[in-house]
């Protein structure tokens, strides 16, 4: 079901790849299937970050690409001729199904089978995870969340059984997690927290050691073998916590060992000895580490994790991280849309986990608490919260159902509610837990006296309603909100008809077939991956934002007056400029709306660009009261060039912008250094050619008619 729920996007649109990042992954996967695994490590990509290029093998998280590549190879080994694109489109739904299984295993390990089943059901439908794993969103998160839950399962399994084999399996799963997503640092920090919490609450066992210590050693080495992580695995502050807990664990174990073996008096003396020497040693190491950390400007943290610990950090220092919408703190309603019933049941599950508090349930509690915090900082990390919320909600639901059914059965011993067979089955395990859980509520006594039968039935109906609403909501969300690939747009007209805007692909196809092979396209970085993947042209910057200065240069060019921008572009050998413009059809995430970020990022490196120059009266606006610099800058000109006449036909008003609902501030825009070569059907993609020398006579002959000829000729 998890799989089929995510196929809405394929049904509604076609089997295309969504969003921005997936296009890059797709391109790398194609390379992998053609060139093989070993060449991937050495691939130097000259189609992007012109003139710098990018070493793909060393800067990519390869887990997803391996997965798709292996699936492709396996299918072909069975002589099933399938396209790479199809494999990529269906990878994420497949792994979300695996993820449900992993959630089942995890909760089963913690709480028993019934809770596992409900948790898996929640997991299969949680909207937050659907958003990242609909068919076609070929993104790292799709497989990484599965890996995350699976690592947790194996860790808990190792914790419960105390077997080295499970622990090493956890290390292998951790390798896969590191290979797929930067979020692995969440694991490497959560495990030490759990370890320390266990030690200080007196739950130190040999099993904890066996689960934790080999995982840290093996996991660190494995992480270091992935080129993109490399030596960071031992040098960055994110990982120090793990080693710190590792040391503490050994000290605690040594104390315990001595306690076992020595008589009491000697033990007390020895304990002080071990403690003092341990403290001295630790403080020595800590000093060394502190010295090392202080010597680097960011205290050894990467920018992204710093912005997690200090939510205001990114907006202060790194506008590029803050500019990505998914790095911003979420709004409250998004918790509800993304988790729905799970967010309500979660606290109940959290409380239920305290009876009885085993090391495994302690782990889940810690996981949930930290995940809630992180998701509060960044929308994207809602994904990390989703499995935790589902597990907790599953436990809560199971406990509630079990208790209520107990009430039903106690009142009348015969089974009346046959239709809910699964729930009856689910009731069997973990009987001792639920009495304790419900005893905290007023009205139910400590002895676990059953709830009156009528109340129980009403409660059951209520729970069923909650589950139904949750299902209904999830299906609606996955169908309506998260299936849109953002590369093909769909709107409903006033008469209920459906319009499909396919401007992006139109624009990229034009680039692919009408520009020379070595053309260099400048656009804002959001469109970099798509341009390289779909148009197969070299771009200046793309979504892998590793070089802030380079992006700032592009932002600066967009924010400069035409002549300066032309000089910048000529210096970078740019031949074409691509802008996304939504004013014609009302597409809100276009370049004009992103423009302030370009100014901020550009201004972060080049101080001559000041944000306040671009702000008009009362903030950012594009009409006559807009900031003077904005009216002069290249982005404004490229977006609104010749727009005044066009909008007269559709909106009946000269130069009316449908996104911002204002009349634009400058109508007669003429271009001297750029020439319009292509504008897509709904004006969303506009491509300009950078001229060799300024055009003499300001206005060019009507380019739209000549474009028509070219297109007819080529098609």
């Amino acid at each position: 079901m998890a799989f089929s729920l995510r196929l809405f996007s394929v049904v509604k649109y076609e089997s295309v790849i969504h969003e921005f990042d997936p296009y890059f992954n797709f391109r790398v996967t194609i390379y992998l299937t053609k060139q093989g695994f070993y060449n991937l490590w050495n691939w130097f990509d000259d189609r992007t970050w012109y003139p710098l290029g990018r070493v793909i093998g060393g800067t990519v998280y390869p887990g997803l690409i391996w997965t798709a590549g292996v699936m492709f190879k396996v299918l072909h080994a069975f002589n099933i001729p399938i396209n790479v694109q199809e494999v990529c489109v269906f990878t994420a739904p497949l792994f979300s199904a695996f993820c449900s299984l992993a959630a089942y295993l995890l909760v089963k390990e913690i709480r028993g089978r019934g809770a596992g089943l409900t948790a898996a059901a929640f997991m299969a439908m949680v909207p937050s995870y659907i958003s990242r794993s609909v068919a076609g969103s070929f993104d790292n998160e799709g497989v990484a969340i599965f890996a995350l839950v699976f690592v947790f399962f194996l860790y808990v399994k190792a914790l419960n059984t105390g077997s080295l084999a499970w622990s090493s399996a956890a290390a292998l799963a951790y390798l896969y997690m590191v290979a797929s997503w930067g979020g692995y640092s969440f694991i490497i920090n959560l495990l030490p927290i759990h370890c320390l919490a266990s030690i200080f609450t007196g739950r130190l066992t040999a099993k904890l050691y066996i689960a934790y210590a080999p995982l840290i050693i093996l996991g660190t080495l494995e992480a270091a073998s992935i080129p993109v992580v490399g030596f960071n695995a031992v040098l960055m502050s994110e990982h120090f916590g793990a080693f710190f807990a590792f040391g503490i664990l050994h000290a605690a174990l040594a104390i315990r060992y001595i306690k076992d073996i020595l008589p009491v008096k000697a033990y007390n003396a020895a304990k002080t000895l071990v403690l003092t020497s341990g403290v001295v040693l630790m403080s020595g190491i800590l000093l060394l580490v502190l010295f090392y950390v202080m010597s680097s400007p960011t205290f050894g943290w990467t920018g992204r994790s710093l912005s997690l610990l200090d939510p205001t950090y990114a907006s202060k220092y790194i506008p590029i991280i803050a500019s990505v919408s998914e790095h911003q703190p979420p709004a409250w309603p998004s918790y509800f849309t993304d988790l729905q019933a799970a967010s309500i049941l979660m606290p109940a599950g959290l409380i239920a986990l305290f009876w009885p508090l085993t090391p495994a349930s302690l782990f889940l509690i810690l996981y949930a608490c930290t995940a809630v915090y992180f998701s509060g900082v960044m929308v994207r990390l809602m994904l990390v919260l989703a499995p935790a919320a589902c597990c907790l909600a599953g436990i809560a639901l199971h406990e509630a159902i079990a208790t209520l059914f107990k009430g039903v059965h106690a009142a009348r011993d015969e089974q009346e509610s046959k239709p809910l067979k699964e729930d009856v089955k689910a009731k069997k395990p973990s009987k001792p837990a639920k009495a304790g859980f419900w005893s905290i509520l007023p009205g139910f006594s400590e002895t676990g006296r059953p709830i009156p039968r009528d109340a129980a039935i009403v409660g059951l109906l209520g729970l069923a309603a909650v589950a139904l609403f949750y299902t209904w909501h999830s299906i609606w969300v996955s169908a309506e909100m998260y299936s849109a690939p953002s590369i093909v747009m769909q709107t409903r007209g006033g008469d209920g008809s459906i319009h499909i805007f396919d401007d992006f692909r139109e624009g990229y196809a034009w680039l692919r077939y009408n520009t020379p092979e070595d053309a260099i396209v400048a656009s804002w970085w959001d469109y970099g991956y798509q341009t390289t993947a779909m148009a197969n042209r070299t771009v200046l910057v793309d979504n892998n934002t590793w070089n802030n200065t380079h992006i700032a240069t592009v932002g600066r060019a967009m924010a400069s007056p035409e002549k300066q921008a032309w000089e910048i572009y000529r210096a970078l050998d740019v031949t074409h400029v691509l802008v996304i413009f939504g004013g014609f059809i009302g597409y809100p995430s276009d370049d004009i709306n992103k423009f302030l970020w370009m100014v901020r990022i550009g201004g972060g490196v080049f101080p001559d660009i000041k944000e306040k120059d671009f702000l008009g009266e009362g903030g950012y606006r594009v009409d006559t009261k807009a900031g003077k610099a904005l009216l002069d800058c290249l982005m404004y000109k490229l977006s609104y060039y010749r727009y005044a006449e066009a909008s007269l036909m559709t909106t009946g008003q000269l130069g009316f912008d449908r996104v911002r609902n204002v009349q634009i501030g400058k109508m007669d825009i003429s271009l001297e250094y750029f020439e319009e070569v292509f504008t897509s059907e709904h004006w969303m993609v506009r491509i300009y050619k950078v001229l060799d020398r300024p055009a003499r006579d300001g206005k060019l002959p009507n380019p739209r008619s000549s474009r028509g000829k070219i297109r007819r000729g080529s098609s």
Partner: protein, 121 residues
């Protein structure tokens, strides 16, 4: 002055008590465990020597240092785990056969070697 000498004296007597009683208690551990203990100490010593060498000479082939250091450390960890599993005095692993524990140990060791070998560069 007096208190300091007193303390040192205290400490000395304490230390001697610890060593003595540790020795006498340790004699009771079975031979098999003692062998594992020897290996643990050996692994720890190797790690320490490598770390000292790194401090003296420098980190240059960082790959090699890391893999060597973590290899010894890893074996230290694995054998501590093994020791805890096969220790007859512990009650945590009642159901576990020593054969199974050794098999797990060998498997993890192989995995560790594989990873180290891959990383050595």
């Amino acid at each position: 002055m007096d208190s300091v000498t007193n303390r040192i004296h205290d400490f000395k007597s304490n230390a001697s008590i610890i060593v003595k009683s540790f020795n006498s208690e340790y004699k009771k551990t079975p031979l098999r465990i003692k062998v594992i203990d020897a290996f643990i100490v050996y692994a720890l010593l190797t790690a320490a020597i490598q770390f000292l060498y790194m401090l003296c000479v420098g980190t240059f082939p960082f790959n090699s240092f890391l893999s060597g250091f973590f290899c010894s450390l890893g074996f230290f960890v694995l054998s501590v785990s093994l020791r805890m599993q096969v220790d007859p005095s512990s009650t945590e692993f009642k159901g576990l056969l020593p054969e199974r524990a050794y098999a797990d140990f060998v498997f993890c060791g192989c995995l560790l070697f594989l990873v180290v070998w891959n990383f050595m560069g």
